[in-house]
Structures are given as structure tokens and as C-alpha cells.
Symmetry: C2
Subunit: 207 residues, 2 copies
DNA sequence: CTCTTACGTAATTATCAGTAACGTAACAGA
DNA sequence: TCTGTTACGTTACTGATAATTACGTAAGAG
């Protein structure tokens, strides 16, 4: 049986337990080359052949690890995510502003901003990829937002009937809208203004 | 000189003034076939060859009118836009709710929702296309939002320092975020809740 | 009529994702 | 040390599809 017929590709994980092991340096080299190319030319113009060339690796070596270009890109982006800090400053408003500013940095300073448009297109056509992206990139981030808002509710800064998901959407939605649709830069002071908007609606009388 | 060297393709417009005129029925047939395919399979899987087949037209006939698949798709989407009604109900809040609900319909009921992800990717790689999309689709719509908000400010429903663009982003951003990133359906009652959020921040004391 | 452009057919170029075949290299376990 | 299994590189290939070109014919304008 030829190697290319092994059913599960186990992206990012090891291959089989027996036989010659995969070279871990290769994984790193591929991911690094992917990030590099991604930030230079954006998703659409990244070709697997060019990634292979820059990583000093063969194309089959890449497809042995990731079944699709899009999966490779998602994993490469995961390596760019900083471990989100659950900074509890004691003020939910300040925490939300910090989280918003962090997201702005992520979308404008890391390659993610250049990657997202192409990835969005792939996600729409590939549910498996969409699930990967949401589980690996979105969910871990949203967790912190949830926590900050829940803390605000618990402390009385935010009303008990605060709609957590609605608030998160209200804060992050405009950022993606700017990045993906209008192409305009995010206004300075956005984080503060957006959080202010939310608190005008959901703050309690006491706070 | 061969026809394919004519520098400006004049998408959607007429060709030259002399010589055999273009068949206007063809324009319609092409656009109709494009919309049809678009709603069936989404942007990525639309091929120009298949559009040509369904329209009963040759491929060069399409490229004579539109220089790229993406331009064709944008023009096809334009034909789907209803002429925005500047319904002035007397209440800016009601007008904004109506506009938001209209946008939700546009994104979920027309093919635009299936087209947008692929288009976003093209826009990121093609500034000319991005400009087309923004001028033909986004701007005409935003005009109504602007007007509604300005009316609200003039009537005293909204504070004089209301940041118009910020408000528009706050209302529409989450819709695009859901459509393009999370893939989750838009919550029932979103329009009302979002407008409520804005008014909690920007309403005047008198209103 | 003549000029010019539109049109269809058919072939072509170019790019790129993803596979396949095959020989060689590396590790695990007997 | 031998054997089985998998990784790796090289090379070639398939398949899809955007975009172009050549050429002969059709249809208008003046």
C-alpha cells in the first residue's frame, strides 16, 4: 500500500508509531515558512510549492502532515496566538478595553489580518476547516471575553440581564467589518468607545 | 489590432460606439446565469465556463464585458440590490431598526450571503475590485444609514456629538462577524437590541 | 459597400492543489 | 544484524480553471 493512502493525515500530530519518525525540525521549518510567506503575500498567493522551497522541504513532506493548504495555514496561525492573559484588573470595563486592544493588535500587527480574508473564503466552502478555525483560534479567545463579562456581572458593574454573546459581538464585530469589508483602519480609541457604548446600556445603577 | 487588446474593458458599459453593437440580451443572460450559479454553489465554485454554458454564450463574450470573474460577480450582485428606501418614519430608532432588518434580509435571503466570503478574499488581493464593491454595494447602502442618523441628531433623538460612523459600525459589524466568522445565525431581535444599545449611549435627555 | 466591432469555436497558456511512483534513509523490535 | 514500516526527496502527473488568442463569420453604422 502506498503511503499516500493512509487515511488519517493527523495534521500537526505524529504519523504512525512505527517506522521512521517524522523530523520535528521539519514541522517547524514548514510553519515558519508559511507564516513568512503569509505575511508577505496574503493567503491567496501562498502556494504550497513555494512554502516547500523556503522551508527546504519537499511538497509531499507537507502533504504528509497537512491534508490541505488551508489546514496548514490555520495551524501556522495558531502558533502566532499569544496565550491570552486573563488579567483581572478588578474593573470589567478596563479588562474589556484591554481585550479589545489586544484583538486590534492581533488583527493589525500579526499576519492574521492578511490571512483572514482568504481563510474566510475557504471556511465558507469547507465546514471542517471552519470548525478547526473556530475551535483553535476563535474559541480560546472568546473564553477570556466571556470571563471578563461574567466577572462584571458578578461584581455588579454590569446588569444581571446582560446578554454576554451580544456584547461580545458588539465589541468585536466592527473590527472584523473594518478589516474584511471597508478596509478602513480602526479608529483610534475604538476600544474605549465601544466599551463605553456597552456600559451605557448594561451598567447597573450603583456602578 | 486584435479585439482583446482594447485597453479598457468597460465592464457593464457598452463597447465601442462604432462597429457591431453588443447584444444587450446577452448582458442580461450572463448576469442572470451568474446569480443563479452563485446562489447554488457560492463564489468559489462558480466558473466562468459554466456561466457561459448556462447563459448560452461563449466565454470570450463574457470577458469582453468583464475583465475578471470577480468584476462580473460584483455587477451581478448590484442587480440584486433593491433601491434603498429612505423611509422617514419620524423616528430615527424605527428607521435604524428597519434598515438593520433590511440588511439582515440582504445577507441571509439573497445570494449576497453566499457570495461575500469569496468576494472578501478577492477584495483583499485586488484593490480595484475592492473599490468597485465598496462603491457599488456598500456606499449606496451606508448613505441611508447616515441619513437616518443625521435626522435623529437634527430631531434631538440623538445627541449632537453622536459619532455617525461609529454607530453604523456598531450596528452592522456584528452581522458581518456572524456571517463571515462564526457562521452562527443572527439572533432574533438583533435589530431592536442593537439600536437599543446605541440609543442607551447617544439619546438625549429630552427624548 | 466598407469599416469596425461582436460573436462562437477551439485551442492554448499558466497556475496551482493535490497524487502517485520509486528509490533511499531512518527508526523499532526481534 | 536483519526485517518491517514509515519518512523523505525527486520527478512526474492529473485535474480544475482563470484568462487569452486566432480565426472565420455576423451585424450594425455611415
Amino acid at each position: 500500500m502506498s503511503e499516500s493512502q493512509m487515511a488519517p493525515r493527523r495534521p500537526g500530530g505524529r504519523g504512525s508509531d512505527i517506522g521512521r519518525p517524522r523530523d520535528p525540525d521539519m514541522d517547524q521549518a514548514i510553519l515558519r515558512a508559511t507564516i513568512e510567506l503569509l505575511s508577505e503575500v496574503g493567503y491567496v498567493r501562498v502556494s504550497v510549492a513555494e512554502v516547500a522551497r523556503r522551508a527546504g522541504v519537499s511538497k509531499p513532506a507537507i502533504y504528509r502532515r497537512w491534508s490541505q493548504k488551508s489546514q496548514l495555514v490555520v495551524e501556522a496561525m495558531v502558533t502566532q496566538m499569544r496565550p491570552g492573559n486573563d488579567n483581572d484588573s478588578g474593573s470589567a470595563a478596563d479588562d474589556l478595553i484591554a481585550l479589545t486592544d489586544q484583538l486590534i493588535d492581533l488583527l493589525t500587527l500579526t499576519p492574521l489580518g492578511r490571512v483572514l480574508p482568504g481563510l474566510v473564503a475557504e471556511m465558507a466552502a469547507d465546514p471542517v476547516l471552519a470548525a478547526s478555525y473556530r475551535n483553535l483560534i476563535i474559541k480560546p479567545n472568546v473564553r477570556h471575553w466571556h470571563a471578563a463579562i461574567e466577572r462584571g456581572i458578578a461584581s455588579g458593574e454590569l446588569a444581571g440581564d446582560t446578554d454576554v454573546d451580544f456584547v461580545i459581538n458588539a465589541l468585536v464585530g466592527p473590527l472584523y467589518f473594518n478589516l474584511l469589508i471597508t478596509g478602513e483602519p480602526i479608529a483610534a480609541g475604538y476600544a474605549r468607545a465601544a466599551v463605553h457604548l456597552v456600559f451605557a446600556r448594561y451598567k447597573t445603577a450603583s456602578s
